[in-house]
Symmetry: C2
Subunit: 373 residues, 2 copies
């Protein structure tokens, strides 16, 4: 057991039937369905698929599931009050993490760890994440939170709670799609930490909080925020090449490129790119899209062609462009990622509970030994 697997790269920690990644050919499937096909469905159907393992094969099933989610969208006044008490500058991810921990105290199924109770708790979390994030967004902008809409789809309802008015059709579709594309990605670090927590038979709220704690990091969910800041810093397509060259000269990496698993174009990035172009055209304001495209071209020329580095845009790159057009502030980008990812986390909790073994690796000791007294 002397071979060290730093970062657990390529170590197979478990079996899953939740998602499949072919990193060589750039294929991503949720429960065996290609992400391109899923991107045209409602988020609720994808969430149902992830959690129950099959698409809702009858309209009634999907309607019932959507009904459950919509019925659980509201959060209580205490949780809103607690968010009002957050000092200026508290990050959305921290507020979300505390709110979820706080919500667990009031969950009617808190002490029940049966599958049914876990499904109910999971549905509550999926339903309430957008409400928490939108309420915190409003509060940090000095506005009153807006109660969830009783009938709008998942993505449209989130934008409605942010703005107080219903989004355009394209905006609603983009938001829905963003949540779908963020919903699941095998054993990424946050999902893995969810499974580590569950492997001790801890509860689903605790596991999701471990996921939020891990997603927050700039090398994971926080990367989207960094891409948004980069787009703002570059400011115009003409400055992209100079910006990329200066990063290369300083030995720094360009945010939003490369992935541990994908050795080709991330299939999610392709979809985000197509939609980023679509909304740029609809808006008649292509600046953010052209900045991103110019950065991609400069990376392709300077790093891929000249230096042979296998860099493609990852999921964070064009999603950041989409967020710019949706007027999402960078500091909320990671919490939007969490709104999507929660369905995957719930699915992984249920899968881990069903066939559990404590996740407990070893470390190699490389320190000194002092003589015992």
């Amino acid at each position: 057991m002397e071979d060290i697997k730093k970062g657990l790269e390529s170590v197979i920690a478990l079996e899953t039937s939740i998602s499949y990644i072919d990193g060589i050919n750039g294929i991503l499937e949720y429960r065996g369905y290609n992400i391109n096909d899923l991107s045209e469905m409602p988020y609720d159907a994808v969430s149902y698929l992830l959690i129950h393992g099959e698409l809702p094969d009858e309209d009634e099933l999907l309607e019932a599931f959507s009904g459950q989610l919509r019925a659980e969208r509201e959060i209580d006044e205490d949780t809103i009050e607690f968010m009002r008490m957050c000092p200026y500058g508290v990050e959305a991810m921290d507020a979300l993490r505390t709110a979820v921990s706080y919500l667990s105290h009031h969950d009617p199924d808190m002490s029940d760890c049966s599958l049914d109770a876990n499904l109910r708790k999971g549905i509550r979390l999926i339903a309430k994440f957008p409400t928490i994030v939108a309420a915190y967004y409003r509060i940090t902008n000095g506005q009153e939170p807006i109660a969830p809409h009783p009938s709008l789809p998942h993505g449209a309802n989130f934008l409605y709670m942010l703005r107080g008015e219903e989004p355009s059709e394209l905006e609603a579709r983009l938001m829905e799609l963003d949540f779908i594309l963020s919903a699941e990605h095998e054993l990424n670090a946050s999902t893995f930490s969810v499974r580590v927590a569950v492997s001790t038979l801890s509860d689903i709220h605790s596991a999701v909080i471990a996921g939020l704690s891990t997603l927050k990091g700039p090398l994971h969910g926080g990367a989207r925020l960094a891409v948004m800041r980069m787009l703002e810093e570059v400011g115009s397509p003409e400055r992209a090449e100079e910006y990329v060259l200066s990063l290369i000269a300083e030995g720094q990496r360009v945010m939003g490129f490369g992935h541990r698993v994908y050795k080709t174009y991330d299939p999610r990035a392709r979809i985000y790119k197509r939609l980023a172009r679509e909304i740029a055209d609809e808006r008649g304001d292509t600046r953010w899209f052209r900045i991103a495209e110019s950065i991609e071209e400069a990376v392709q020329r300077e790093l891929v062609e000249k230096q042979g580095k296998p860099l493609c845009p990852n999921v964070d790159f064009y999603s950041a462009v989409v967020y710019k057009y949706l007027h999402i502030p960078p500091e909320f980008a990671t919490s939007l990622f969490a709104i999507g990812r929660i369905s995957g986390w719930v699915a992984h909790c249920i899968e881990q509970y069903a066939d559990n073994r404590v996740i407990r690796p070893r470390a190699k000791y490389v320190g000194k030994h002092h003589p015992s007294r």
Copy 2:
């Protein structure tokens, strides 16, 4: 990469110089010092050792570190107020997790991720954990929280905050020792989840919250609670054998025996056993100790000798006896574990930040593939 490492058993995930375990010979060292030697030191010295890598070699160093910890013991009225608002029945671990998440919002170093800031944040967490747990204990008993004592040692101060009076010398020593023995244990599940969170460069509060979320599980920190409940259920030494036989007949495991890493007597269990006997004798009430010893004898006879199972008491077994004598309610046992473990978590955060790689294993897909449309 087709070999599945379920539970990551025997996989070496990283190098560490924080602790060393020899599971065959039953040896545990923190930073190269045998746990038997460390068990005679103050918790503050062990905490310093874990975090800084060396024992404080001058009295002034230890005094300065203890002074920092004592100066950070207090928690603000808002945090206490939030705990008062917890509904009846909220577990101590959940209240602690929410309180730590809440405290992060007010940490003056929140947005600073330098080593110095991480050390300051770590010291605050180590100092405040006992205060949070004791305050929640008092609140759930309908009593007013007691402010931390300005000069008592770590363990004695905790018992003082629980009770409102200073503990006996032996009680204080036992509490100090419990925190030392709980402080660190290589890549146990909670410490591993701390490192997974840090590996995305998330912040130290988030990482510790991931640790709490994982420690809570009954297959990890929650096991001590289960042993305490077992001791209560057995009730008298005479009933121990019958109890063990009935568990065996039902195919259930006996709580507090066996360990993933130790194939012999857990060195911490030996120390706990000696001290459990000592306090039982001092009290002139040996019942809890004799119940535990009778369970150990029955397991030895029925499972080790007759069935050849390599079962020894683990850390949770005699620690539960010690907690009975310290009048710790079972439902607080896991949160006491966390009070000890936080020093190890902080040390692992600092080690992971210093030489980081995102911890992101793979999964083997075993589900169906649906044809793409």
